[in-house]
């Protein structure tokens, strides 16, 4: 308890130092507000434009969350298919790596051309970049089951469905969570990148990424900073949500979740 308190105190201390440094820089080099607004100006903008800020926040959150959830669902399904045959894995797994390495900024315009600008296109972009880590990690978890554990089930004449639900899937859960953890980090980035290209089909109704391009064009640098702040908060929320779920599902039995518990 005491340690948590001191850690929080440290974090606040670092933040205050950074804010002071920020303000001092502007003062020393006399940086104009359109290039770097003061912390105070940013705070004021957050309060003044809170409703449009939260509006953008939720649009991006929705796009990132839906893209991530669908990628978890589809990724797990693909992993289940991959787990059935080594031949299939050897043939198709390299392509999931391709999925990960292809630059999203290069294919985003294509997706917008096919799907039209808006929430759907942004979710789709998020889905595509989240898919690879989930497929790769979950497949690994599904196929790394100890042979004797499978034998144990076979000795009981267990059905394929029983082996899947009672052995392979729970065994793969920690690996699935590694994939989800990675994916949740890039989901927010993916959604915002998507929005830079395809944020909205109607003006003023876009997510954080869309509003960033808008604020930049208008030279509203203080609002731009507020948007960046909101994007970081969103990233944090995703991170903690996944950590909470991981703890909830794994802390009883798995080491990875137990380590976070003892920190």
């Amino acid at each position: 308890m005491k340690r948590i308190f001191y850690n929080a105190l440290n974090a606040v201390g670092v933040l205050l130092t950074l804010l002071v440094l920020w303000r001092t820089l502007i003062w020393v080099f006399s940086i104009p507000a359109y290039m770097l607004p003061t912390p105070f100006a940013v705070a004021k903008t957050v309060i003044n434009r809170f409703s449009s800020l939260t509006n953008s926040f939720w649009i991006t959150a929705l796009a990132a969350a839906s893209g991530l959830l669908v990628s978890i669902f589809i990724g797990t399904t693909v992993a289940l298919i991959f787990a059935q045959s080594q031949w299939l894995r050897r043939m198709l797994l390299p392509y999931t790596i391709l999925l990960q390495t292809v630059p999203i900024v290069a294919i985003a315009p294509l997706i917008i051309m096919w799907a039209g600008a808006g929430l759907f296109a942004v979710s789709l972009i998020t889905f595509i970049i989240c898919l690879a880590p989930i497929i790769a990690n979950t497949t690994q978890g599904l196929v790394s089951v100890d042979e004797n554990m499978v034998n144990l089930f076979l000795m009981q004449n267990a059905s394929g469905a029983q082996i899947l639900w009672k052995l392979r899937l729970p065994h793969a859960l920690p690996s699935l969570f590694i994939g989800v953890r990675i994916a949740s980090g890039i989901a927010v980035i993916g959604a915002i990148t998507g929005e830079l290209f395809a944020g909205s089909s109607s003006i003023g109704q876009g997510g954080l990424g869309y509003s960033i391009t808008y604020a930049l064009a208008q030279l509203q640098t203080d609002y731009l900073f507020a948007l960046v702040l909101a994007a970081s908060v969103l990233g944090f929320l995703f991170f903690f949500a996944v950590m909470f779920l991981e703890y909830y599902f794994l802390h009883n039995w798995h080491e990875s979740a137990r380590k976070t518990e003892s920190q």
């Binding site: 100890d146 004797n148 076979l154 009981q156 004449n157 267990a158 029983q162 009672k166 009883n252 039995w253």
Partner: protein
């Protein structure tokens, strides 16, 4: 339910009622297309009578685990026949239990859920299962740890859970592949006495793989020494030590003699 004691089973043994029978069993791994198919077992004949405790001992890679897998029907012989109580191994699975060296507990299940796994897989009702699991935990002295997860248990406790799970289906044949290899010597001795006590109570037939000569002698009615390249049974040594076998058994001169003889034979087999 009939309870057997080992003594009541001794006459049955001489009746020639074979629980496990191998006749001319050979086993190669690798398909016929692959030229480098490896001969793991060559022409093994074996007859194990009901209630016997037979140990397999031999150099690494001579096919001990393969013998057990054949009995369990987890792999099939390339040629020859195996009968378990008159059935094919695949059909006899219901009366066979398997204990592996690493306790193979499912880490996401509590001790009682692990013990109940096999009952659950064969759709035993929840009430019946709880009743049986409680009795099994009592049997292995783990009632207090029913709600623990495997990571909270010592190696010995994990093995107890594994034994309880193997007993859950009232096996007639128990296959054990180096079950106590990971335990310290004192726990191992203790487990050896307990496994014999369980056998006396329940009367199953045991096929037991070990690398410890002392353990094999202490437990067995017969010790089979296997030789490699290709795997075969090289020596079949009956152990005529009195029952019940306890700590005192280990002090007997005959016990020491068996160990000396078998160790020497084993060295001979290994240096071939």
């Amino acid at each position: 339910m009939t309870t057997y004691t080992l003594n009541s089973l001794l006459p049955a043994r001489s009746n020639g009622l074979a629980e496990i029978a191998f006749s001319g069993v050979s086993k190669s791994y690798g398909n016929k297309a692959a030229k480098s198919s490896q001969k793991v077992l060559q022409h093994v004949d074996l007859s194990v009578q009901r209630g016997e405790f037979v140990s397999l001992i031999g150099p690494s890679g001579c096919g001990k685990s393969t013998m057990l897998k054949l009995v369990a029907g987890l792999t099939s012989p390339t040629s020859g026949q195996i009968c378990i109580d008159g059935m094919t191994p695949a059909n006899a699975r219901e009366i066979v239990s398997y204990i592996f060296q690493d306790a193979t507990l499912l880490p996401w299940r509590t001790v009682e859920q692990n013990v109940g796994l096999r009952l659950e897989l064969e759709h035993t009702t929840r009430e019946r299962r709880q009743e049986k699991v409680a009795a099994l935990l009592e049997l292995v002295g783990l009632s207090h740890a029913a709600k623990s997860y495997p990571r909270q248990l010592s190696g010995g406790m994990k093995m107890r859970v594994s034994i309880a799970r193997a007993m859950s289906t009232k096996p007639r044949v128990l296959l054990m592949d180096e079950p106590f290899a990971a335990l310290d010597e004192i726990s191992r001795d203790h487990f050896n006495e307990e496994i014999l006590r369980l056998q006396q109570e329940q009367g199953w037939t045991a096929l037991f793989v070990t690398h410890s000569v002392a353990e094999a002698v202490f437990l067995s009615t017969r010790v089979l020494i296997m030789a490699p390249h290709p795997g075969r049974i090289a020596h079949d040594i009956p152990i005529n030590l009195p029952y019940p076998r306890t700590e005192a058994t280990r002090q007997l001169a005959a016990f020491e003699d068996y160990i000396t003889t078998i160790s020497k034979t084993l060295r001979g087999v290994q240096s071939q």
